[in-house]
Amino acid sequence: MITLVVNGREQHWDGDPSLPLLWFIRDEMGLTGTKFGCGHGFCGSCTVHLEGIAVRSCSTTLAEAAGKRITTIEGLDPAGNHPVQKAWREVNVPQCGYCQSGQIMQASSLIARNPHPSHEEIREAMAGNICRCGCYQRIETAVHLATTGA
């Protein structure tokens, strides 16, 4: 039996310990904000926080998540008003929006560690998250805005 904490609530799993965290969160728990994009950590759509650090849930097994605290987009802020989320809305970042949960989780992890990243640091930290619609310019603007008080 694996125990982990997702968005502050304890969860248990007695199935396959090699199941990717992504599918546990989405299919077993029903938290669909975390998205599938590639299954191999190439695109960042499935980004969640593990002990506060951005990880790719598609490439994190439940065995690896055992005993850990996980935060998904649904748990980032109770009212959805994390500075990154507010900045995203201010800049009207998304097009299709599909990758944005992952982008926001990546950006919020960055800011938690580095409250005032430079443009280069933003680009470097966000380079693991693909946006096929091409919202990159606005993502960069929004991350910057989030750190300067959106």
Binding site: F36, F42, N92
Partner: protein, 761 residues
């Protein structure tokens, strides 16, 4: 105007409570009024045309909340915001009191729902305005009746109707019932708002309707559907398109924890249109288990007729074909004689490979088939086509099929093809439970309806003064029609019209030819379609001619475009296709093409000094009846690494509704253009797609993107018909980039992707 049945039903629900959707109300044949436009469009030639009935699209609740139906699919263009915004503006609804509700697939009721071809605003601006104006008129009439005053004394504004004399006011919620009882006004009597009074249209001040849900993870995409008892499926499909299962052994798959069943999926003979490819499905309690189960399947395949498709050999075939005469698809003057008399002939041979759509949300759909009925939840661009195909596949009537349209996590043309939905339907029927079919990224890359592959060969004949007197363009590419008809080898009019026969240049002798090309995989629409290779070839050739004659590239471009005029190519082209539009409303306007070049040159500071190792390139292209010019500044370092300090794009898309979303579409097109230019390539070996995932089908990332992208929208009045914005940004980007690379390095890119070509520069 409406018979009593509809009237009664509508009094109960249409303009009232939102618990009842407007979609439920018109269970009787729809009395649709066709859109009457101030200018004509091709809308009425689309299946089911347009509908401008306010009772279909608008409902008002007693609390004043106005629900507006979005009948087109949202894949990131902003259409779910922009079209309802038109209705709200015209009916004087306050946007914060508006809810948007997505329509299911039902074109008889809503008009055409095929969300492709950059058509939504150009076909629906007028119908949406008429819907809003009708609703406003009905609200005004209801208030006048309540007050017993002439309707001329009342005026709707800001979600209420005011009696001008007394200052009395009634809110839209208070008037909902009475307004519903009013007859729908004759469209000929409608008073549309003066554009100077627009509150939302043309302003770009409104965030997209799904913004809050997207940023909190609550937005519902195709992948997010969950039904009680739902099973999760992935499918092992034939490694070669057109192949099939010979035999399979499910025993190891069935041992995987969480796997419940293994089922063969029916495939269709090649070419299979939008029907499933067939294969073997693993049904499980979650997607992860299904994927692991699939990895354990043992399957023997028959690779079928396309097993020898090889991109290296095929490229040679295409290039050989481009060097020989082909079917003439446009002819002006006498190109052969003019070439013979030319002082100089410049030849450019260009090659552009297959591309995968690679929307971030892979194909995914959920179906529930039971009791002779089917209901699906799917991210589809063509909900009615999906509905019809489900009905045909199951042998039931379309009335027994419901297609619920979710948000699309990207579309780009891929989700116009409903093979993945049909898979879900077949599996739900077989399993006897709701089934979600999930494509992995590898499934998506391997089984796409790929963008065509093409060889483009252009010869330009110049006289002694350096003026271009002859132009021959051969375009060879497998046609999208091959997905529907075995043996189709020539481009269809809709492909020829995308940047080949519609060449807007002022050259006396022009010939366009289309040699044959056979298809060995599924070819499909990809954002901007054949405009990608054509714009690349034509705009690179212009730069080559400029270089060969020592001219400035922009001046060369303007000279080739020639004076402002309407370019009448009608007599020189059989079956000319102008994006489905009447040429009278949407002619090829050389003046507008010139003006976007001049605008981008001015705003983008064409000719500015740039540091060593940097270069500027320009390209212009008309597509989807819009005009777009792009200037790219590139920097190439000693190792051939590209960076892009600045991009400027000017777009003339006629009168426009939501400039903020036009801007986002064009910003995004630069990134997609960069991806296809740098990396984009799907290749085949032994009939199989070589690439697998984002490690070998690479996409541009944030640290490669332009440092600055400036978008300049041509201000147009309401008299200029609206035109496309979703696709036209893409075609000029790659040639502008590659022309900039030439300016920076002297290396001419004639074949995409750029890949490692600059590493030797």
């Amino acid at each position: 105007m409406f018979d009593n049945r509809i009237e009664n039903v509508s009094r109960r629900g249409v303009l009232r409570g939102l618990g009842v959707t407007a979609g439920l109300v018109l269970a009787v044949p729809v009395m649709s009024r066709r859109g009457m436009a101030a200018y004509s469009t091709g809308a009425d030639k689309m299946p089911h045309g347009t509908v401008n009935d306010p009772k279909v699209f608008v409902s008002i609740a007693p609390d004043g909340v106005v629900t507006i139906i979005a009948a087109r699919s949202e894949m990131g263009t902003g259409v779910r915001t922009s079209l309802p915004m038109i209705v709200a503006d015209e009916m004087e609804a306050n946007w914060e009191m508006v809810k948007v509700q997505q329509a299911p697939g039902d074109e008889v009721k809503y008009g055409n729902q095929d969300t492709d071809g950059s058509r939504s605003t150009r076909h629906f601006l007028i119908p949406m305005r008429q819907i809003g104006a009708s609703a406003r008129t009905m609200l005004e009439a209801a208030a006048a009746k309540r007050w017993n005053v002439p309707v001329s004394e009342v005026k709707a504004a800001h979600h209420e109707v005011i009696h001008v004399g007394s200052g009395q006011k009634l809110g839209y919620g208070d008037l909902a019932d009475d307004a519903a009882a009013q007859p729908v006004p004759d469209v000929a009597t409608l008073r549309l708002k003066d554009p100077k009074d627009f509150r939302y249209m043309g302003k770009g001040q409104i965030g997209i309707v799904d913004l809050h849900d997207i940023t909190t993870g609550r937005a519902m995409y195709g992948i997010d559907t969950r039904l009680p008892g739902m099973k999760y499926a992935v499918i092992a499909r034939p490694p070669v398109t057109g192949g099939k299962v010979v035999s399979f052994d499910p025993s190891d798959a069935l041992k995987v924890s969480g796997v419940e069943q293994v089922i063969q999926v029916q495939g269709w003979p090649w070419p299979s249109k939008f029907q499933p490819l067939g294969g073997v499905a693993v049904i499980a309690r979650n997607t992860g288990a299904a994927i692991k189960g699939r990895d354990a399947l043992k399957i023997v395949w028959d690779d079928g007729p396309n097993a020898s498709y090889d991109s290296v050999a095929y490229r040679k075939e295409l290039e050989d074909a481009s060097r020989k005469p082909g079917e003439v698809v446009r002819n002006n003057g006498d190109v052969d004689s003019a070439m013979k008399s030319a002082a100089k002939v410049i030849v450019g041979e260009y090659y552009l490979p297959h591309l995968a759509h690679a929307s971030m949300e892979t194909p995914v759909a959920t179906a529930q088939v039971a009791d002779g009925k089917a209901e699906v939840w799917a991210p589809v661009q063509s909900p009615q086509g999906t509905r019809d195909d489900i009905a045909k596949t199951l042998g039931i009537s379309p009335e027994n099929v419901t297609v619920n349209v979710t948000l699309l996590g990207g579309g780009f043309g891929r989700k116009s093809k409903c093979d993945f939905v049909l898979e879900a339907v077949l599996l739900s029927k077989a399993v006897g439970a709701p089934v979600k079919v999930q494509w992995t990224r590898e499934d998506d890359i391997h089984n796409d309806f790929v963008h065509t592959v093409s060889a483009e060969r252009i010869e330009a004949g110049l006289d002694k003064s350096g003026k271009v007197i002859a132009w021959r363009h051969r375009s060879v590419a497998p046609t999208i029609m091959s997905t529907f008809a075995a043996g189709a080898k020539h481009q269809a009019p809709f492909e020829l019209g995308m940047g080949l026969v519609d060449l807007p240049f002022d050259i006396p002798n022009i010939r366009c030819e289309n040699p044959e090309a056979a298809a060995y995989t599924r070819i499909g629409w990809f954002r901007s379609v054949s405009n990608i290779p054509r714009a690349f070839a034509v705009q690179t050739m212009v730069a080559e001619i400029a270089h060969a004659t020592g001219r400035d590239q922009k001046e060369m471009l303007l000279e080739l475009i020639g004076p402002a005029r309407i370019v009448d190519i009608g007599p020189t082209v059989k079956d000319f296709w102008d994006y489905g539009e009447p040429v009278g409303s949407y002619p090829i306007d050389a003046g507008r093409l010139r003006r976007v070049v001049e605008l981008v040159a001015e705003r983008g500071q064409w000719g500015r000094q740039v540091p060593k190792g940097h270069g500027l390139g320009i390209a212009v292209h008309r597509s989807f009846v819009s005009y777009i010019a792009t200037i790219v500044e590139v920097a190439v370092d000693g190792k051939g690494k590209l960076t892009i300090p600045r991009v400027d794009t000017a777009i003339d898309c006629g009168t426009f509704v939501n400039p903020e979303r036009i801007q986002s579409q064009v910003e995004g097109a630069a990134i997609m253009g960069l991806s296809l230019a740098k990396y984009g390539e799907i290749t085949f070996k032994n009939g199989r797609v070589v690439q697998k995932n984002f490690d070998d089908f690479k996409l541009a990332r944030i640290d490669e993107g332009p440092m600055v992208t400036n978008i300049h929208i041509m201000p147009n009045g309401p008299d200029v018909p609206p035109s496309g914005a979703g696709e036209p940004g893409l075609p000029p980007f790659a040639p502008a980039l590659c022309n900039a690379i030439f300016a920076a390095t002297g290396k001419r890119i004639r074949s995409l992707p750029i890949g490692k070509q600059l590493q030797s520069a």
